[in-house]
């Protein structure tokens, strides 16, 4: 992948095409994670992410995996897109019910689907409000499931820095969770 990225930086169109296609799922997953699976801006933000990635490739020094670099670009682009969308639409429903359609888990009841959707929205809402560095770490770790070490490598900071940012972000998440009924059990430590 890195070799393809290197060729793409030199202006090789075919390499750039291959790179974007290969990283498409990584970008799409990050965009959908931040915006929501059925957010109407997913496709546009995906394109923005690809453009941003192409622009950022010049600065990519190979400090982390190419896919992780792309993931970071997509998360930052998507967080910007989410803020733009929030400005466009001041009032949003308490739960993005359209997302329920995405979750065809037969083992989950409607109540469980609603709970899971709420929890995602709690985190997405927090991404809007946290400082950018903390929001980025929170998205990479909690939303996309990267380890602390991976998160540090992706964001290009020492592990302890990534961890302190994560702890601050999770502290804010805990604070917000206290006001959310679906997370109150977790706050209290109930099963």
């Amino acid at each position: 992948m890195r070799a393809v990225a290197t060729r793409a930086v030199t202006g090789d169109d075919r390499a750039r095409c291959t790179l974007l296609v290969a990283l498409g799922t990584v970008l799409l997953r990050a965009v959908r994670g931040v915006l929501g699976v059925r957010h109407p801006d997913v496709e546009d933000v995906l394109q923005e992410s690809m453009l941003a990635l192409c622009s950022a490739l010049d600065s990519f020094r190979g400090d982390c995996q190419t896919s992780h670099f792309a993931c970071r670009v997509a998360i930052q682009t998507a967080m910007n897109g989410r803020r733009r969308a929030a400005r466009r639409q001041r009032t949003t429903p308490s739960v993005p019910l359209e997302e329920l359609a995405e979750m065809a888990h037969d083992e989950l009841s409607p109540a469980e689907l609603l709970t899971a959707a709420r929890r995602r929205e709690v985190l997405r809402g927090l991404l809007d409000d946290l400082p950018a560095a903390q929001a980025e770490v929170l998205a990479l770790h909690t939303m996309l499931g990267h380890s602390v070490a991976e998160t540090a490598a992706i964001t290009g900071v020492p592990i302890n820095t990534a961890r302190s940012r994560l702890r601050a972000a999770l502290g804010a998440l805990r604070e917000r969770a206290g006001a959310d009924a679906t997370l109150a059990e977790a706050v209290r430590g109930e099963p």
Binding site: D13, R14, C17, L20, V21, A22, G24, T25, R29, G33, V37, R38, V42, E43, L46, M50, L51, C54, T91, T92, P93, S94, V95, E98, L100, A101, E102, M103, A104, H105, D106, E107, L108, S109, P110, A111, E112, L114, T115, A116, R118, R119, H141, M143, G145, S147, V148, A149, R163, L166, R167, L170, L173, R174, A177, A181, T182, A186, V187, G189
Partner: protein, 358 residues
């Protein structure tokens, strides 16, 4: 957050590993202890798992990516190679997504394995069939057509159902009902697909009661918890309480489907049908296909063949792409074969994809 250095550098990492793969006994114990000791870690873990529930890789993604790659390229003004770019993108997308999709599918199965007994994994395939469109907003079924298009079949259906619901005079729910085993193959939740309508503002989910201490969300959560623990009478009572105290809350609306399913499982199809009808009377909703299927099942359990057949026809009309369509067609055919349908079946069953079955 407590640090643990035995297997993983941090508890946070152990929680992440638990989301990726099954843990060994020792790691599981370690994680359980960490979650019990640290509320912040518990919250992060629960929220992270909520994201694991969403399928981020979807059918049609390869086409979406190829299209966006093409647009990205064109926006960078390289028209000479656009055609070659487009072809290469399509081919590469197909090859890469096939490999990536298989991996993601396996990962999805793995996630489900962690949460679901092995014998419950089979319904995964319909879950994929239920999804339509490449980006989640490109396609909308007729059932959720914008109101500006006039009175859609779904709208008419909602009106009829509302009248039906208002006229219903069936028995009220009792507090204690005999239970019986649930039906063997419960369908996956699904809806007709994405709606092009903008999200409808909903009443605050945390609207409080006049006494200010119980919310709609509380009741919804407690009812769900009671149902999961088998306290079905308690769950029914809580759903009813929710509907009575917060009739405008989204939770109350959704609870009609939950209660309908519960009543169906406990042998009360007439009451179940009433609640499914109420939900559908509210117009297109996220669980509308589920409710429509529940109505058909309710009539089937009641032995009311004519109404059952009509319910299946309405499901096919309003949710032709849902995972329930195949089951509806099969049931109509069975009714017609048994002579329980109209004297001369009018050939009113919409043709559809045979793969749409549950």
């Amino acid at each position: 957050m407590n640090e643990r250095r035995s297997g993983h550098e941090y508890d946070e990492d152990l929680a992440v590993v638990a989301r990726r793969q099954p843990l060994g006994d020792a790691e599981r114990s370690e994680l359980d202890a960490a979650l019990a000791a640290d509320p912040t870690l518990r919250i992060a873990h629960e929220v992270g798992r909520a994201f694991d529930d969403v399928a981020f890789v979807r059918p049609g993604d390869e086409a979406l990516i190829a299209r966006v790659v093409d647009r990205t390229h064109r926006s960078e003004s390289r028209p000479v190679v656009a055609r070659r770019w487009r072809s290469a993108a399509a081919i590469a997308a197909t090859l890469l997504l096939a490999a990536g999709g298989a991996g993601a599918y396996r990962a999805g199965i793995l996630l489900r394995v962690r949460r679901t007994p092995a014998h419950d994994i089979a319904p995964t395939a319909p879950r994929l069939q239920a999804r339509a469109g490449m980006n989640g907003h490109a396609e909308a079924p007729a059932s959720v057509a914008p109101a500006a298009a006039g009175a859609s079949p779904a709208t008419q259906s909602a009106t009829q159902l509302k009248e039906h619901a208002m006229a219903w005079t069936g028995p009220h729910l009792g507090s204690t009902r005999p239970t019986r085993p649930s039906s063997s193959a419960r369908p996956a939740f699904a809806t007709a697909g994405p709606s092009e309508q903008p999200p409808t503002p909903t009443p605050p989910a945390t609207a409080s009661t006049p006494d200010g201490d119980v919310t709609a969300a509380d009741l919804f959560r407690r009812a769900g918890a009671a149902r999961r623990t088998g306290a079905l009478a308690t769950a029914s009572a809580l759903y009813e309480d929710l509907q009575a105290r917060f009739p405008a809350a989204e939770e109350a609306h959704l609870s009609h489907v939950s209660l309908g399913k519960l009543l169906l499982e406990t042998g009360q199809p007439q009451e179940a049908e009433h609640h499914f009808a109420i939900y559908l009377a509210g117009g297109p909703g996220a669980l509308a296909a589920e409710a429509a299927f529940g109505r058909g099942e309710s009539f089937e359990r009641m032995g009311r063949a004519r109404e059952e057949r009509q319910a299946w026809l309405e499901l096919l009309r309003d949710f032709p792409e849902s995972i329930y369509a195949g089951a509806a067609r099969r049931r109509i055919a069975a009714l017609d074969d048994l002579g329980l349908g109209p004297p001369n079946p009018p050939g009113d069953v919409p043709a559809g994809d045979s793969a749409n079955s549950r």
